[in-house]
Symmetry: C2
Subunit: 330 residues, 2 copies
């Protein structure tokens, strides 16, 4: 593979001139530039990102750390990140943390050794120490959903609280008289916000009872189990707002197995907007987050940071949207 030296030799200039045309930095005579470009062409020269990295401490690669790519929320997000990264000339390393602080910390270290340009953390476990560390070693980062502090992080999320209220209102609108909620792990902010949105919406209803709120694990089986519990406690429920789509699918399974008609007897509304909601029958109504946009924005903001644009350290909160489907069409 040709190096910058080969190009310089062929073009009859010095390597710094070549470097200048490569980086469009400093002045270069139009003629010489042409020569250099020609030499680059004929040698099919491509600068080595690694050598550049060594000098710049930046590698045009970003990392995406997420809990588990197998969780159906993340593929779409990853796709968005990769799409915009590639467009902007970046490459993306991905890592699964399983939500474990130590795995995530280990990744930060590895990535540092690789002079990673920046990191996107998705619904993870970042704590104050990590944030300080990242700041200390000067690695730009962006956080999805969760952040230990609002002040010094750029965080992207969608309107979970409002979305929950929209969900409940929708169920009321279609005529539900007693609405339950299956919520996710309360260590997870999104799960908490959605639960709060539900509570605030229903607490003054005469049918309200705390036992209408059943915990789940944000996974399929959690939704299945929660629905079973709920049916035992409150057989008269006629609407369920489920904290995420995966559990909503689980709940749907349980209801179908119990011979309950969805939506006629019980309507279901999920949250997230993953593709899975369209794979099941009946298709699930959901409060859709703009998943792709969230990923794209994360990548854009991160790369802006990397390239020196000032990016506000604040929460970017995106809108959610009610997507009605058969599970709430009585």
């Amino acid at each position: 593979m040709a190096t910058i030296r080969d190009v310089a030799a062929l073009a009859g200039v010095s390597i710094s001139t070549v470097s200048r045309v490569l980086n469009k930095s400093g002045y270069v005579n139009a003629e010489t530039e042409k020569e250099v470009l020609k030499a680059i062409q004929t040698l099919k020269y491509e600068p080595s990102d690694v050598a550049r990295g060594l000098t710049n401490k930046k590698t045009k690669t970003i990392a995406l750390i997420l809990p588990d790519i197998v969780n159906p929320f993340f593929p779409a997000l990853s796709r968005a990140v990769e799409d915009v990264a590639r467009t902007l000339g970046y490459t993306v390393i991905f890592g699964n943390s399983d939500g474990q602080a130590n795995k995530e910390k280990a990744y930060i270290n590895i990535l540092k050794q690789k002079y990673i340009s920046g990191i996107i953390f998705a619904s993870h476990n970042l704590n104050r120490d990590d944030v300080e560390y990242l700041q200390k070693i000067d690695i730009p980062f962006v956080v999805l959903d969760r952040a230990p502090s609002r002040e010094n992080c750029t965080v992207i999320r969608s309107k979970n609280f409002e979305g929950a209220k929209i969900a409940v209102q929708h169920l009321l609108d279609i005529g539900c008289k007693k609405i339950a909620h299956i919520y996710g792990p309360q260590e997870i902010n999104t799960a908490k916000d959605r639960l709060m949105g539900y509570e605030e919406s229903v607490k003054n209803s005469n049918w309200y009872s705390p036992t209408l709120m059943v915990p789940g694990n944000f996974k399929l089986d959690g939704g299945m189990n929660a629905a079973r519990v709920l049916m035992e406690r409150h057989p008269d429920v006629d609407g369920i707002f489920v904290g995420n789509d995966l559990m909503a699918v689980g709940a749907l399974k349980t209801l179908l197995r119990l011979g309950i008609n969805v939506p006629k007897q019980i309507a279901i509304c999920g949250f997230d907007g993953i593709n899975l909601t369209e794979a099941v029958e009946p298709e699930l109504t959901t409060i859709a987050q703009p998943i792709y946009e969230m990923g794209a924005l994360a990548a854009e903001l991160l790369i802006m940071k990397i390239e020196g644009s000032r990016v506000e350290n604040r929460i970017y909160e995106l809108e959610v949207k009610l997507v009605q489907r058969d599970s709430t069409r009585k």
Copy 2:
């Protein structure tokens, strides 16, 4: 961040000695080694992968190029690759090619500039030229499902042809009298092999007709449409072997919407073994590929190649397994 020089200084040795203990290469006095290790400890020194890359032309990072991470087959595969890569000290870059040869070629180039250690191509579009190019620039690679030539590629796949026969046999075993097949794009090897397996299994049956084979696109809507076509052509079909799970889920949707009971009236068997088969109701019987194992094996073989072990350039063909669920339990 401390460099190798800092360590050398603190330990009172030369940098080459430090390098030796770092790489366990060459002889180092036990005493000096201890000193060096201590210095490394107190300085929290971590060698720079980038600097190493510059000298070694290897970066301890591999790439995974796949069509689209959003396709539910790939998350599990990716997870496996990342798991074993991490365990073996590698990091993974992922890229979506959308099955487009040019995107894939572009990635190869970018990765080359990054001194990528090796590449895994999943069900992609690699052609002879690409293979030659990769060999020329000496980047180890492994291919999943498809390869332009058997001789000079390490390819991993599962028994598609045999799996298809198992599927048909299973449908016969549970009493199906007329079995249709929805097949995937014939440019894709796996789709072709599965179709051939079906044909070979049924071509001598008295009920056989070529019109029982309906094309699909390996996606949800393809399965939905194909099932509709099929029901018009052959309302008396009582078993469908679908070329992949995603289409099988689509077919199931169509049948449920038509008020057809699955499995009583029509049994369905898919292929792949993705999680989605357990999310729908009834759950789908499928010919499960060992998806995780395939990814893990790909990563292992690739890293063996990278690290200089001889790895046979041949096809590693893994077993598939019938997983019976309610969609074929009459």
